[in-house]
C-alpha cells in the first residue's frame, strides 16, 4: 500500500468501488444535510437559469427545429450568459426530472443542487484514484477523506454553483491527462480532450489549466519536442493536441449561446471575466473592494480554513516529494555532466554536498513525472493570488478549490510516510493489533477534520479552524464572516415565532430567487413579504460583514434604535442581526 510514484499497484474494480463508495457516502451526507443550509445568493440566479435552460431541452425533444432557432436560443440562454451552461443545464434537468416529474427529491432546491453534489462525490473518487495510483491505497483513502473533510469544501459541495464542479473537472482533467501520459493510447488522449472540454464548459478557471499541461509536457517530452523542432517538425503529445482542439470545440458546441455571433460572444465572455468588478471582502480587519489585493490572503486563508492536521500531512508529503524531485534533478545533472564531459564541479550535483545527506542514491524513475504534475496542478490553482495583486479576493477560498484535491493527495502521501514510520517503529505488531493500530492512526488524523466539518454546518463560511481560534478567532483576526446572504434561513425560526402574518422583511444580501425558494420550501414562513429596504420593512436583517455595517446604521436611523431583536450566532459570534420596527 505504500507505492511511490511510478510504481503502479495492481488496480481494479475494488479500487473504483472504494473510491466510488467514498464519493457515494459523501453525496449521501450532503443530501442529508442540504435542508439545513440556506440558499446562497448565486444559487438563486442558477435556480432561475436551470429552470429556464431546461425549457430548451423540452423544446429539443418536442419541437427540435425551434430549439435551434437563434431567437429561441437567445431568449433562453441570454440569462446569466457570463458563465458556461454545463452545470446550469444539469441543475435544470435534475430539477425537471428528479423533482418535477419523478419526485425523487421533495425539495426543488435539492434537485437543483444534486448535480453539483455528485461532482463533489466524483472529486473524492478521482482524488482516491489519483492518490492511490500515485502513492498507494492508504494515500488515496486519506486524501479523499481529508478533501471531503475540509469545512469550506463541505459547504461549497452543497451548493448549486460551479466551484466544486470546477474543482472536480480540474482534478479529472489532470487525472485523465496523467493517465494518457502513462498509457500513451489514442483513447486516453481523446478522453483528455473531452474532459478538458467539459472543464471549460464548467467554469472559466479551466482556461488556466494549459499552464499545468504545457509545463508538464515540457518536463516529460521536452527533449523529444526540441529534437523534432530541430529537425523541422512540430510533434506535440497527443493529449495536448486533443485538449487544444477538442476542448474549445466542445466549449462552443456545448453552449448554445455561442452558436451565433461566436467571436463577439466569446470576446464578451472573456472581457467579463478579465474585467470582473470587485466585491468587498474583509481580510485582517480591512475591507478590500478594489485592487491591489493582499498577496497574503490565500496562504492565510488556507491556514485559517483547512484543518491543521491536513496541512501538517500535506507539509510532510510535499517535503518528501520535493526531496525526491531534487534527487531526480541531481541525478539528471550527474548524468548530463557525465555525458557532456565538461569541467563542472561534481559537487554541484552531489546530494550530500547540498545537505541532502542520508537520502537514497537512486530514485525510481517516473516517466509520467507524477510529482511534477501534482505540484503543478496544485500551484497553478493557487498562483494567481500570489503572482498578481489584481486578482479579486471576494470569493474567499472558493476560487482556489481546484488546488485542494492535490493538497489532499500530498497529505495522503504524508500519511503513508507516518504509517511507514509506525510500522518501522513497532514491527512486532501482529494479528488484529497491526490493522487496529494503522486504523487508529488514520482515525487520529481524520477525526478532528470530521468533527470540525460537522460543527461548521450550516455556517461554512463563518467557520475557521482551531489553529486560529475557531469562529471567534476568525472574528478576532478580522476575517470575513460570510457572503452571499445564505444564513437568512437561520433566522427562520425567530421570524416564524415573532413575525405577525404578512409582515415585511428586509432580506438584505439574500437574492430574491433564494428568498422565494426558501419560502416555497417552507424554510421561511411563506406569508412574509420580502422587501428591498429597511425603511419599508417590519423586520430588517443584517448579514454581518465589515462593509455591511452601513446597513446596520441605516436601520438605526430608520427605526430610531440600535438594539436588534434577535442575533443569530455561531460559537457566540454574531452572524445575522434581526431588527424589529417598534
Amino acid at each position: 500500500m505504500t507505492n511511490t510514484a511510478g510504481a503502479r499497484p495492481a488496480f481494479g474494480w475494488k479500487d473504483h468501488a472504494l473510491g466510488g463508495g467514498l464519493g457515494v457516502l459523501y453525496v449521501s451526507w450532503l443530501l442529508l444535510s442540504a435542508r439545513t443550509l440556506g440558499f446562497a445568493r448565486d444559487e438563486g440566479f442558477y435556480f432561475r437559469a436551470g429552470r429556464q435552460y431546461s425549457r430548451w431541452f423540452d423544446l429539443l425533444l418536442s419541437r427540435s427545429p425551434e430549439a435551434f432557432e437563434s431567437r429561441t436560443i437567445d431568449s433562453i440562454f441570454s440569462y446569466n450568459h457570463e458563465h458556461p451552461v454545463l452545470m446550469k443545464c444539469l441543475f435544470g434537468l435534475s430539477w425537471e426530472y428528479l423533482h418535477e416529474k419523478a419526485h425523487v427529491f421533495t425539495d426543488a432546491s435539492t434537485a437543483f443542487r444534486f448535480p453539483a453534489m455528485v461532482t463533489a462525490g466524483v472529486a473524492l473518487w478521482v482524488t482516491y484514484l489519483f492518490g492511490a495510483r500515485a502513492y498507494g491505497r492508504w494515500a488515496g483513502v486519506i486524501a479523499a477523506l481529508l478533501l471531503g473533510l475540509m469545512p469550506r469544501v463541505f459547504y461549497h459541495a452543497h451548493l448549486a454553483c460551479f466551484d466544486i464542479p470546477i474543482m472536480t473537472m480540474w482534478t479529472l482533467s489532470v487525472y485523465v491527462y496523467w493517465r494518457a501520459t502513462q498509457e500513451r493510447g489514442f483513447g486516453w488522449a481523446i478522453a483528455a480532450g473531452l474532459v478538458y472540454g467539459l472543464a471549460l464548459m464548467t467554469k472559466h478557471n479551466a482556461w488556466i489549466l494549459p499552464a499545468v499541461f504545457v509545463a508538464h509536457a515540457l518536463v516529460v517530452h521536452g527533449r523529444a519536442i526540441l529534437r523534432n523542432l530541430a529537425a523541422g517538425r512540430v510533434v506535440l503529445p497527443a493529449p495536448l493536441v486533443a485538449m487544444a482542439t477538442l476542448g474549445p470545440l466542445l466549449f462552443c458546441a456545448g453552449w448554445p449561446w455561442m452558436w451565433s455571433d461566436t467571436a463577439e460572444r466569446v470576446k464578451e465572455y472573456v472581457s467579463f471575466h478579465l474585467n470582473h468588478e470587485y466585491y468587498n471582502m474583509e481580510f485582517l480587519g480591512r475591507n478590500y473592494g478594489a485592487a491591489p489585493s493582499p498577496r497574503s490572503y490565500m496562504p492565510v486563508m488556507i491556514l485559517a480554513t483547512v484543518p491543521a492536521v491536513t496541512l501538517a500531512l500535506f507539509g510532510l508529503g510535499a517535503f518528501d516529494r520535493l526531496r525526491v524531485l531534487v534527487l531526480r534533478i541531481l541525478e539528471w545533472g550527474r548524468v548530463t555532466l557525465a555525458r557532456s564531459r565538461r569541467r563542472v564541479p561534481a559537487s554541484l550535483f552531489d546530494s550530500t554536498a547540498l545537505g541532502l545527506s542520508g537520502l537514497e542514491p537512486h530514485v525510481p524513475k517516473d516517466k509520467a513525472a507524477t510529482d511534477v504534475l501534482i505540484f503543478l496542478a496544485c500551484a497553478t490553482a493557487l498562483a494567481p493570488w500570489v503572482l498578481s495583486t489584481k486578482y479579486p479576493i471576494f470569493g474567499g477560498t472558493k476560487h482556489w478549490l481546484p488546488a485542494y484535491p492535490f493538497l489532499a493527495i500530498l497529505a495522503g502521501r504524508g500519511f503513508v510516510i507516518a504509517l511507514s514510520a509506525l510500522r518501522r517503529t513497532w514491527p512486532g505488531l501482529v494479528g488484529w493489533i497491526r490493522p487496529a493500530t494503522e486504523i487508529g492512526l488514520a482515525f487520529a488524523v481524520t477525526i478532528g477534520p470530521l468533527v470540525i466539518t460537522v460543527h461548521s454546518h450550516p455556517f461554512g463560511l463563518s467557520s475557521y479552524v482551531p489553529l486560529v481560534g475557531g469562529t471567534a478567532g476568525g472574528a478576532d483576526l478580522g476575517l470575513n464572516r460570510q457572503f452571499w446572504g445564505f444564513t437568512t434561513q437561520g433566522v427562520g425560526p425567530y421570524l416564524e415565532k415573532n413575525a405577525p402574518r404578512h409582515a415585511s422583511v428586509f432580506i438584505h444580501d439574500t437574492a430574491w430567487e433564494s428568498w422565494q425558494q426558501m419560502q416555497a420550501e417552507d424554510r421561511i414562513r411563506n406569508d412574509l413579504r420580502g422587501v428591498n429596504s429597511p425603511s419599508e420593512a417590519d423586520f430588517a436583517l443584517v448579514h454581518h460583514e465589515l462593509h455591511m455595517n452601513e446597513i446596520d446604521y441605516e436601520i438605526w436611523v430608520a427605526y430610531g434604535n440600535d438594539a436588534p431583536a434577535y442575533v443569530l450566532t455561531h460559537d457566540e459570534v454574531p452572524i445575522v442581526s434581526v431588527y424589529r420596527r417598534r
Binding site: 475591507n287 491543521a308 492536521v309 501538517a312 500531512l313 510532510l316 500519511f415 507516518a418 514510520a421 517503529t425 487508529g440 492512526l441 487520529a444 488524523v445 481524520t446 478532528g448 468533527v451 470540525i452 460543527h455 479552524v465 482551531p466 489553529l467 475557531g470 469562529t471 471567534a472 472574528a475 478576532d476 438584505h508 444580501d509 428591498n532 429596504s533 429597511p534 425603511s535 443584517v542 454581518h544 465589515l546 462593509h547 455591511m548 455595517n549 452601513e550 446596520d552 446604521y553 441605516e554 436601520i555 438605526w556 436611523v557 430608520a558 430610531g560 434604535n561 440600535d562 438594539a563 436588534p564 431583536a565 434577535y566 442575533v567 450566532t569 460559537d571 457566540e572 454574531p574 442581526s577
Partner: protein, 317 residues
C-alpha cells in the same frame, strides 16, 4: 559525563526523536480536536448577559460610555443591553474624549485598544462576562453639541445659489434607506432643500466602517452652498469636530468637500474632506468667543455633488 558520553547520549536522543517523530502527526490531529472542543463549548449564558446588564445599569451615568469588547461582540451587546444603555449616542460617538468613564463589557479577557491610556477604576465579573470601569484621564466638557441642534428651533438651513438663499423647511417625511450602496440612512425628520438636498442627523460609516452620528449634509455641487445656521450656540474655547464622506461614496476620486465655519461675520476655518481622509478630526480655536452665545454658521460645498455623501459633527468645549 565526558565528551564521548555526551556525544553518545545526544545521538541516542536523536535516534529516539527520529524513531518517534511521526507521532507528532496524530498528536497534531488530536490536539486540534481538543482545541476545537474547548473553543466550541465556551458559551456565554443569557443569564450572564442579564447580570452584566443589571450591573452596568446600576452604575452607569449619562456621561459614561458603554462599549463591548471584542468589537465584533457589539450586536450581541446591543441585543442584551438594549438601547437605553447601548444608545446610538454611545455606539456612534464621534470619539471617546467627552466621556468621563467607560464601562467596557468584555469576554475572554479582551480589551479595546482605544482605552489603553484609561485607568481601571473597578472590575466586576458576571460569569463569562467581565465589566471593566475605566476612567478617562482627561475628559472634555462639552458645552453644546451641534448634532443636537438639528431641530427646527435650533437651526436654520438654506441652499445658497447665485447669491439667492432658499430656505429648507423642517419636514416630517418617511425615512429613506436602501440596499448596500444606498448611502447613509435619511431620517424621517430633516431639513428639506431644493434640488433634492437635505440636512439631517444620520449615522455614517467612514473608511473605518464604525458608526458616526453626525449631520448628513450632502453638497449639491457647483457653486451651490448648503448653509446651516446653528442658533444660540454656547461657545467654548474650541470648536471640536469631525467630518467624513461615507465609505461607499469615497471610492471614486471625486473632488473634495469644503466646510466653512463662520461666526460673528467672520470665517473661523475653511476645512476640506477628501475621499481618503476618513473620519477626520478638526479643532478650531474659539477662545475669543468663549462664554458667549450666538449664531454659528457651517457652509458645505463641493465642485460636484456626485458621490459626496458628506457628513460632519462638532461641539463646543
Amino acid at each position: 559525563m565526558n565528551a564521548e558520553e555526551a556525544t553518545h547520549s545526544l545521538s541516542a536522543v536523536r535516534a529516539l526523536f527520529r524513531r518517534y517523530v511521526f507521532l507528532a502527526i496524530p498528536a497534531i490531529g488530536l490536539l486540534e480536536l481538543a482545541a476545537h472542543i474547548v473553543q466550541v463549548t465556551t458559551r456565554i449564558p443569557a443569564e450572564d448577559w442579564a447580570a452584566a446588564r443589571d450591573g452596568v445599569k446600576a452604575g452607569v451615568r449619562p456621561n459614561d460610555l458603554v462599549v463591548f469588547s471584542p468589537a465584533w461582540l457589539d450586536p450581541l451587546g446591543r441585543e442584551y443591553f438594549r438601547d437605553n444603555l447601548a444608545t446610538i449616542g454611545r455606539e456612534a460617538r464621534p470619539d471617546d474624549t467627552r466621556f468621563a468613564r467607560a464601562f467596557e463589557v468584555s469576554i475572554r479577557g479582551e480589551h479595546l485598544a482605544e482605552f489603553e491610556g484609561w485607568k481601571v477604576e473597578a472590575t466586576q465579573h458576571f460569569g463569562a462576562i467581565t465589566v471593566n470601569i475605566l476612567d478617562n484621564p482627561s475628559p472634555a466638557t462639552v458645552i453644546d453639541d451641534l448634532v443636537d441642534h438639528a431641530a427646527p428651533d435650533k437651526a436654520q438651513v438654506a441652499l445658497v445659489e447665485g447669491g439667492n438663499e432658499t430656505g429648507c423647511p423642517w419636514t416630517r417625511g418617511s425615512p429613506q434607506t436602501g440596499q448596500i450602496g444606498f448611502g447613509p440612512g435619511i431620517p424621517a425628520d430633516r431639513f428639506v432643500c431644493p434640488r433634492s438636498s437635505f440636512v439631517a442627523t444620520s449615522v455614517v460609516p467612514a473608511n473605518d466602517f464604525r458608526p458616526h452620528r453626525c449631520l448628513y449634509a450632502p453638497p449639491v455641487g457647483g457653486s451651490s452652498v448648503l448653509r446651516i445656521r446653528f442658533v444660540d450656540v454656547e461657545f467654548g474655547r474650541t470648536l471640536h469636530g469631525h467630518q467624513a464622506i461615507s465609505w461607499a461614496a469615497a471610492r471614486y476620486n471625486s473632488p473634495p468637500v469644503t466646510l466653512v465655519w463662520k461666526a460673528q461675520g467672520r470665517t473661523l476655518a475653511r476645512l476640506t474632506e477628501q475621499d481618503a481622509d476618513g473620519w477626520k478630526p478638526f479643532e478650531i480655536d474659539t477662545g475669543d468667543l468663549a462664554g458667549q452665545k450666538g449664531e454659528l454658521v457651517a457652509e458645505v460645498s463641493a465642485p460636484s455633488g456626485s458621490n459626496r455623501q458628506y457628513c460632519f459633527e462638532a461641539d463646543t468645549r
